[in-house]
C-alpha cells in the first residue's frame, strides 16, 4: 500500500518538504523579512522599476490616524495591514458615497468613516499581523482590472501567482475572485484557481474549494466560472502580458534574494502588470490547479546554471510548457505532435511485441517530419539501409528501374508488370509511385516498426533517395490518424 501511495505522490511537494528543503534552505531570514513587510517590498521593487500599487498614506500610529486628511484620498482605495497574512484585513473601497462620510465596498455595502478608523486601529494593534505584533496600515491605489480577466471574476482583482526557483519560473496559476470569496482572490475563501501552461500562458485546469466543507484544503475540479450571470469556460484563457510577467517574477526573485518565491501579479487596465506582493512561503494549492507536482519541477531546475532572466524563461518554457497540449488531448482524445518529433525506428525484423515489453531492442532515434500532404510515410534510403534493408535496396536497384516516368499511368503500368517479381524479396512489401524531387518515380515500400510518442506500430515506408526531404523520416497521413499536429514550431 505504502509503496503504491508514495509512487503516485512522488511528484507532489508537501508542507514538510517545502519548509525543510526550500523555504529554510533557500530563503534567508533577511530575504523573508523583505517579503513579510509590504512597505519594504514596495521599496525594494521600486528600485528595479517594478510596478507596485501606489501608496497614498502610511499610518503608523493612532495620532497619525487622528490627523489623516480624508479629503486628500482618491474616491477608490485599498486599506491593508503591512504585515498581514492570507489577505486578512484587506478592505477595498470602490467610491465615496455622495454627501456622506462613507465609502462603498465591492459588495455594495457602505462603511462609515468611524468604522474605517476602527478597522485601521485594529490593524495598528496587530489584529491581522503575523504574531499579533503592532503593525502599520497602508492606504494604497485600487487596481482597475484588465478587461480580459475582469469578465471571469466577481468584482475583485484577479491575480497571477508565479512560483520561481533557482531563477526559473516553475509554476503559475490565475486566481479569480468569486461571489463566495467576497471579491478576494484568496483560495481558502472560495476563489477559483486556474493552472497556467508555462510556455503559452494559457489556462489549463481549474479548481476551487467547495462551500461549507469543514474539510480544509479539499479541492474540486471545475470547468467554468461559478457565480457570474453568464458563466464562462475557464480553460484556454490567454493571460495578457505572460512573457512580461515571467520576467517580472524573476526580477522580483533577483532583488528580494528569495531562492524560492511566489510572486503575485495583478494586471491593471492602464499600467499593465503590477506586483501585489511577494511570498516567501507560497502555498501548495497551485499543484492542484496545474494537476502537476511541484517537487519534480523544483528538482529538475535545482542544479541548473541559469545565466540570465531570458535564459530562465527559456528553460521554464522548454521544461514545463506543453500542459495545454495535454489539455487538448484530454478534450479531443487525440495526442498532440510537434511538426518535428523524435521517433524510434527499429531494425529490420523487430518483433513488435518485444518492443512493448523490453527496452533494449535495437533502434535508431531520429527526427521525423509530420507531413499531412503525403499519404504514405517516407524513409531516406540511407537510414533504411542502416537498419537492415541494404540487401532489399540492392535487389530493387538490380531491376534497372527507369529514373523517372512521364506520368502516373506509366508508372502504374510498370508497377503492375514488375511488382510481383520484385516483391519476391520478402523485405519489399510493394512498390509505390511517388513524386521525388519533382519527378515521378517508383520506389520500394518496407514495413518498419516505429515508435511515435509512446505508441509502437508497424508502418509502411517508401524508401527514397530524395535530397529534399526535411528529415530522414517523414510521417504521412496514413500514420497520423489520431494525432493533432502543432505547427507553432514550424518556422
Amino acid at each position: 500500500m505504502i509503496p503504491i501511495i508514495s509512487k503516485k505522490y512522488k511528484h507532489i511537494l508537501g508542507l514538510n518538504r517545502r519548509n525543510q528543503e526550500y523555504v529554510r534552505q533557500y530563503n534567508s531570514s533577511s530575504a523573508k523579512a523583505i517579503a513579510d513587510n509590504k512597505i519594504v517590498t514596495k521599496r525594494v521593487l521600486k528600485k528595479e522599476l517594478i510596478q507596485t500599487p501606489e501608496v497614498y498614506k502610511l499610518i503608523r500610529s493612532k495620532k497619525q490616524l487622528q490627523f489623516l486628511d480624508w479629503d486628500s484620498l482618491p474616491k477608490s482605495f485599498v486599506i491593508k495591514p503591512n504585515k498581514g497574512t492570507g489577505g486578512n484585513g484587506i478592505i477595498v473601497f470602490y467610491g465615496k458615497k455622495k454627501g456622506q462620510e462613507a465609502w462603498i465596498r465591492p459588495n455594495g455595502n457602505t462603511m462609515s468613516k468611524r468604522d474605517i478608523i476602527l478597522h485601521i486601529e485594529n490593524i495598528l494593534e496587530g489584529r491581522f499581523s503575523m504574531g499579533s505584533k503592532k503593525d502599520i496600515a497602508i492606504i494604497e491605489e485600487r487596481i482597475r482590472t484588465d478587461p480580459i480577466l475582469k469578465q471571469y471574476s466577481y468584482k475583485g482583482v484577479p491575480d497571477i501567482r508565479i512560483i520561481c526557483f533557482n531563477q526559473v519560473p516553475v509554476m503559475g496559476m490565475l486566481r479569480l475572485p468569486t461571489k463566495k470569496s467576497n471579491g478576494t482572490a484568496n483560495l481558502h475563501s472560495g476563489a477559483i484557481c486556474t493552472g497556467i501552461d508555462m510556455e503559452s500562458g494559457i489556462t489549463t485546469y481549474s479548481m476551487h474549494m467547495p462551500g461549507s466543507s469543514f474539510r480544509t484544503d479539499s479541492y474540486k475540479l471545475i470547468e467554468t466560472t461559478l457565480d457570474l450571470q453568464d458563466n464562462k469556460p475557464l480553460r484556454g484563457i490567454q493571460i495578457p502580458y505572460w512573457n512580461e510577467m515571467l520576467e517580472i517574477a524573476l526580477k522580483c526573485q533577483e532583488v528580494t534574494k528569495l531562492g524560492y518565491i511566489g510572486v503575485d501579479i495583478a494586471i491593471d487596465a492602464e499600467k499593465g502588470p503590477v506586483v501585489f506582493e511577494v511570498n516567501a512561503r507560497p502555498g501548495l494549492g497551485i499543484q492542484v490547479a496545474n494537476q502537476a507536482g511541484l517537487r519534480w519541477r523544483l528538482e529538475k531546475v535545482q542544479d541548473l546554471k541559469i545565466k540570465s532572466i531570458k535564459h530562465g524563461i527559456r528553460v521554464s518554457k522548454n521544461l514545463f510548457g506543453g500542459e495545454i497540449e495535454e489539455s487538448i488531448e484530454a478534450i479531443s482524445g487525440r495526442k498532440v505532435l510537434n511538426i518535428t518529433e523524435k521517433i524510434s525506428v527499429f531494425n529490420k525484423g523487430t518483433d513488435i511485441s518485444k518492443v512493448k515489453i523490453r527496452k533494449s531492442v535495437k533502434r535508431e532515434i531520429v527526427k521525423a517530419f509530420m507531413d499531412t500532404g503525403i499519404l504514405t510515410s517516407r524513409i531516406s534510403s540511407t537510414l533504411a539501409n542502416r537498419i537492415g534493408y541494404l540487401s532489399a535496396t540492392k535487389e530493387f536497384n538490380k531491376f534497372n528501374m527507369p529514373e523517372k516516368f512521364e506520368n502516373f499511368k506509366e508508372a502504374q503500368e510498370y508497377i503492375d508488370k514488375y511488382e510481383k517479381e520484385i516483391c519476391k524479396n520478402e523485405d519489399i512489401k510493394r512498390l509505390a509511385k511517388i513524386v521525388e524531387d519533382g519527378e515521378i518515380k517508383v520506389r520500394p515500400v518496407f514495413d518498419i516498426v516505429i515508435k511515435i510518442s509512446d505508441a509502437v506500430r508497424i508502418a509502411e515506408f517508401v524508401s527514397t533517395d530524395s535530397q529534399e526531404i526535411p528529415q530522414p523520416v517523414v510521417i504521412g497521413r496514413a500514420d497520423l490518424s489520431g494525432y493533432l499536429i502543432d505547427t507553432s514550431g514550424t518556422f
Partner: protein, 221 residues
C-alpha cells in the same frame, strides 16, 4: 508495578517532587504527541502550548468534566462574540469583555451543577487552576476567529481538543506514566524522535487527501 530506578530515586531525593517529575514527563510526552499530530497527520492546533495545557487540565478534571467545561467555554465565547461583533469597539476591550462574560457564565454553570447535578456532581472537587487553563482556550479561539474565520477557528479548535484528548489518554494511563517515571532514559529518546520529526520531509497524511486529484501515475510532469 515497575521497580523504581536508581536515577529516579536520586532525582526524587534531590528536591524534585514526584508530582513535578510526573508533570514534566507528561509535558515531554504531550509535546511529542503534538509534533506527531502536526508533522505526520497535519492536525491543526492552536500552537503547541494550548493542547499541552488542555491535556494536563483534562488529567486533573477528568475527560468528562474537562470536555463539559470546554463546551461551556466555547459556546459562551461564540455567543458573546457574535453579540460583541455588532458593537463598535476596540480589539483588546472586546477580548476583555468576552472574558468577563465567560467568568459570569462559568459561575452560573457551577450553580446549575450544584442545583441540578446534570451528571457532573463532582465538579466542586476540581482544582480551580484546571478551570482557568481550559478557559484560556477562549483566547486562542477568539484570536483565530478574528484573524481568519469562524470555520477556520472551529477546525483548529477541534484539532486542539482531539490532540489534547489523545495526550490526556496517554498521560493518564498508569502503566505508561509509571514506566516513564522509572525509565527516564526515554526522555532523550523523545528528544531524538522530535529531532527526526523535525527533519521529516515526507507528505503529511492530510497532503495525501489534499493532493489526491493531482497525484496520478502518469502525471503531467
Amino acid at each position: 508495578m515497575f521497580e523504581t530506578s536508581k536515577l529516579t530515586e536520586w532525582i526524587l531525593s534531590n528536591g524534585v517532587s514526584e508530582t513535578v517529575l510526573e508533570l514534566l514527563i507528561a509535558v515531554c510526552i504531550l509535546a511529542t504527541v503534538v509534533s506527531i499530530a502536526r508533522y505526520i497527520f497535519d492536525s491543526k492546533t492552536y500552537g503547541i502550548y494550548a493542547p499541552i495545557l488542555l491535556a494536563i487540565a483534562y488529567s486533573y478534571t477528568g475527560l468528562k468534566y474537562g470536555l463539559a467545561i470546554t463546551l461551556v467555554v466555547i459556546l459562551t465565547s461564540l455567543l458573546s462574540f457574535s453579540v460583541l461583533n455588532k458593537i463598535r469597539m476596540h480589539y483588546i476591550t472586546r477580548i476583555a469583555t468576552n472574558y468577563t462574560v465567560l467568568a459570569m457564565v462559568l459561575i452560573l454553570f457551577f450553580i446549575l451543577i450544584e442545583r441540578f447535578g446534570l451528571g457532573l456532581e463532582n465538579m466542586a472537587n476540581i482544582p480551580p487552576l484546571a478551570f482557568i487553563s481550559i478557559a484560556a482556550l477562549s483566547d486562542f479561539f477568539i484570536k483565530q476567529y478574528l484573524k481568519k474565520s469562524l470555520q477556520g477557528s472551529l477546525i483548529t479548535l477541534f484539532g486542539t481538543i482531539f490532540v489534547a484528548v489523545i495526550g490526556w489518554f496517554v498521560i493518564t494511563r498508569e502503566i505508561i506514566s509509571e514506566y516513564m517515571l522509572n525509565n527516564l532514559w526515554i526522555l532523550p529518546l523523545l528528544t531524538i524522535l522530535n529531532i527526526l520529526l523535525g527533519r521529516f520531509t515526507g507528505l503529511r497524511l492530510k497532503d495525501y487527501l489534499r493532493f489526491r486529484i493531482t497525484a496520478k501515475d502518469d502525471s503531467n510532469n
